[in-house]
Symmetry: C2
Subunit: 300 residues, 2 copies
Amino acid sequence: MDRLIEKIIKTGNPTVAGLDPKLDYLPESMIKASFDKYGETFEGAADAIFNFNKELIDALCDIVPAVKPQSAYYEMYGIEGIKCLEKTIEYAKSKGMYVILDAKRGDIGATSEAYAKAYLGKTELGGKSAAAFDPDGMTVNPYLGTDGVKPFADLCAANRKSIFVLVKTSNKSSGELQDLLSGGKPIYEHMADLVKQWGIDSLGTRGYSHVGAVVGATYPEQAAKLRQLMPHTYFLVPGYGAQGGKAEDVAKSFNGDGLGAIVNASRSIMCAYKKNGGGVGEAARAEAERMRDDITAAIK
Amino acid sequence: MDRLIEKIIKTGNPTVAGLDPKLDYLPESMIKASFDKYGETFEGAADAIFNFNKELIDALCDIVPAVKPQSAYYEMYGIEGIKCLEKTIEYAKSKGMYVILDAKRGDIGATSEAYAKAYLGKTELGGKSAAAFDPDGMTVNPYLGTDGVKPFADLCAANRKSIFVLVKTSNKSSGELQDLLSGGKPIYEHMADLVKQWGIDSLGTRGYSHVGAVVGATYPEQAAKLRQLMPHTYFLVPGYGAQGGKAEDVAKSFNGDGLGAIVNASRSIMCAYKKNGGGVGEAARAEAERMRDDITAAIK
């Protein structure tokens, strides 16, 4: 988590740009150029999406510390989409950005080990080994408990990577399971106890563990409570902007040191050009600056 | 779910063969042949794994109704691994098998829509659309509640596919979250209520919904209770064999009609040749027959 924190401090910007590139987020001219080249195919869509991502990364890389590609929006374009995801991860890293893959994997122990190798480690190939995908961090689903999460945490420790475990998600129906009360406290607080425990032995130089938590901006009161319960846990905060979370809401996920959270926005940055005009990159940069200023002002 | 049930009835076999092909499950000669051809690369590993899967599918397709590839074991070999997954899905379907992709996806609504399109539907490509991956069903993680599951259920209805939602998983630490008591009943029973509700409007000709549930063989008492609570829900039952579940345990997941569950075994079938000798396919077939007889006897 130290590596992410250094980038946040360097840019003075505790935000992450989500790369969830639905095809209809892209300018028509960009889609047309790729479809003219490759036909209306997965290859054509993946080419357009990579060009779009590249423009965003180029425009943001010196002022935004991290990107968060959402795996679903690449998997829906099949093999070509996943190649585009791989290229996007590599390109963002080459530009100095921290890459959090939003893949929400999680399974029984042996299978989580395979997922952890796929994204946070290396896969054995006879006498050799190689990284299948190589983001800096990823999101993890904790429904299966410790043995489904520990393989990810172990590879974070070994390879200086990070995970963000779902605790209280930003969506409307998150409470159906996460808010159920057990022993006088909601499930998401039980999850907070586990997340704290999974990370307790791995505090970095800034005092934060490599096991982070996903805490939605759309539930500010719950976030404030979770902030108290998990002082050494970095929060990945979705839900700002398009989903309705405001700067004063996300401020509750930060600690007194001005650290402790990184706030995601996807659509509002990717589609800023549609609302405010200008090129994709130019508009995204302006919106990223506005978001940075909005949030840093609210933290103070 | 009707399509799966017809295959179960036709083969007289309520089991599914897990295809979780760790490289060290494969015969050395098979790995060597592919590494000789492609080097110690992801391409070499994927080639060996596809050959292994093909031999298993060929040996099982007339006596086992379904296969369940576990996505993690393909993702760990990168793009080449995922190509192998795609080929495995297509090959098993071409041999008449029902394919349940064990991918445990689940996210906020808009993102679950993208995952659902990727695996249960089609992706728009300009004026056209195409299926990215095309299994018959998949597993889904319900941590995010209704809006994270409904997009999958909707595409099941539209495209005659099925999902199996995690309720009580087979792993050791599943109880950390799933067994917490809320309002006098464990979380997995709350999930059962939701699963029932998600599927209630979609009962097929055999009286089962397209929204199934994952219920581990390693927790037979819980399975018996869940069977009562969800009479119209098909259970996907992992944990038989290598994980410790026995025939009398999995029997509790069946209804009085002899239907209601499909039991998975992975390692015990894939690696039967190591234990019992013979070729991969031959040993897998013998073990699949033994498992079928063991379970059908326990149901009666």
